[in-house]
């Protein structure tokens, strides 16, 4: 027997499903905290250099420190793209092409706990959607059968 409450509950479940999946996916995508990383890179005037560490959609810290030949480079020697983690080298007297440099930067990365939680929750979201679909079909079918006395 389907009543108004069941249909209202169905509507809320559908709304919840529509909101839940993007909410959880966005939470995972943006669940990064800044981790300090030190890395060796090679100065290349011809093409940008990408850092090795992966990052969430929050990207990388805005102010890396790059050291070459024992000297901290100033901003004119390179251009740092905090969204992609790439360094575009400027042809200045501070560096030379092919020189080794050290970059210290921050990358937004997820904790091990977050990755573990996502590994479990991601398949559950699919199940949640499946159960919601079955619940919706059942409620709608009961409602239709009741209205048309099938």
């Amino acid at each position: 027997m389907t009543d108004g409450d069941s249909v209202a509950q169905l509507a809320v479940v559908i709304l919840l499903l529509i909101l839940a999946v993007p909410t959880l996916a966005t939470a995972y995508e943006r669940a990064g905290t800044p981790h300090a990383i030190e890395e060796q890179v090679t100065v290349d005037y011809a093409s940008p250099t990408s850092v090795d560490a992966n990052a969430t959609s929050e990207g990388y810290g805005a102010d890396p420190t790059i050291t070459a030949g024992g000297t901290v480079l100033n901003d004119s020697a390179y251009d740092w793209d905090a969204s992609t983690g790439t360094i575009t080298w400027g042809n200045t007297s501070q560096t030379s092409d092919g020189q080794q440099a050290t970059i210290e930067y921050r990358a937004y990365q997820r904790t091990a706990e977050t990755e573990a939680a996502w590994t479990v929750v991601a398949p559950l979201m699919g199940l949640f959607g499946l159960f919601g679909l079955v619940a919706s079909v059942r409620t709608l079918w009961s409602y239709v059968a009741e209205v048309w006395t099938l």
Partner: protein, 110 residues
Amino acid sequence: MTPLALWAAVALVALAATACWAILARETAVYVTSGLSFTAWAWLAIVGGDVAMLTADGLHWVRVVSSLQFTALALAIISLVVFALRLFGAYPSPQQNAAESTGSAETTAD
């Protein structure tokens, strides 16, 4: 609002929704309360560790929240199981339903 305050607020919503399907209103809106509690517990599990690391007294909260993350994950799974049990007509169980209906009828008669 700090990340930890938001996390705690969602935890309260999750607890309230869980209390509804588990204790307070086991025959009412189980789909909604279990679905809400699943979403809220899952969110708490996903963002917990990062929220702790963004909080001022980070190290202390990392220890607290990291352990709570796995509790939240367990409760998310239980909420989903309850959603499925309700779908298959097994929650609340027919015996519970009958007992509660009888109790309710007796109370009304008194």
